[in-house]
Symmetry: C2
Subunit: 113 residues, 2 copies
């Protein structure tokens, strides 16, 4: 199993697609906050998994998967997460868009070679 | 407007979250196919936008946005796309997971600084 892949159950479940452009020059603070949020999120009830990728020039997509909309709301309102959300707006991001959706179906493929 | 951001309308709309790990050493063929698929997808009826990020070590996330499930189906079944999907399984990807969802709400932020 690829450690960077989210191992999700059969749909339906929910997702948060967080697309962002990071400001240049804030790498260290960003990585600390990002690692801590990953640790926190994965301890939340209803957390199913998370996947993240960022282009070298700063455009990133993080998708987290959740059992329910309630679980997403609890995560969004978590006190420490709220502090980091504000830090993100004040310091880390030029822009972001956060989309909440309901995953209806999924197909997976694994190479045999 | 950031050219790498998808400019989507108010929800609801649909998304395809395509997470993949690319095999090493196939960069040139992959970029050609990827650029062509981007061009093709953006001409499909119901296409709303696309966002893509890949970590240097090969984990990538591409999210495309669509007006309807019908539009997603038409894109999945497009003849040239089917050929590239097979090429992806045969050559490009160690694994992938493709998830189709319905985006229910979205929040955006733009820094003023």
């Amino acid at each position: 199993m690829d450690p960077q892949a989210a191992k999700t159950p059969s749909p339906p479940y929910y997702c948060v697609i967080f697309t962002s452009r990071r400001k240049p020059g804030i790498e260290d603070h960003y990585y600390d906050a990002s690692a801590r949020m990953l640790e926190l999120a994965s301890q939340m009830p209803g957390f199913l998994g998370i996947e993240s990728a960022r282009n070298p020039e700063g455009l990133g997509i993080t998708v987290s998967y959740w059992e329910s909309e309630e679980a997403i709301k609890n995560w969004r309102m978590h006190a420490e997460h709220l502090v980091v959300q504000k830090k993100g707006r004040d310091h880390f991001y030029e822009w972001y868009e956060s989309r909440v959706g309901r995953v209806e179906r999924a197909v997976s493929f694994k190479s045999e070679k």
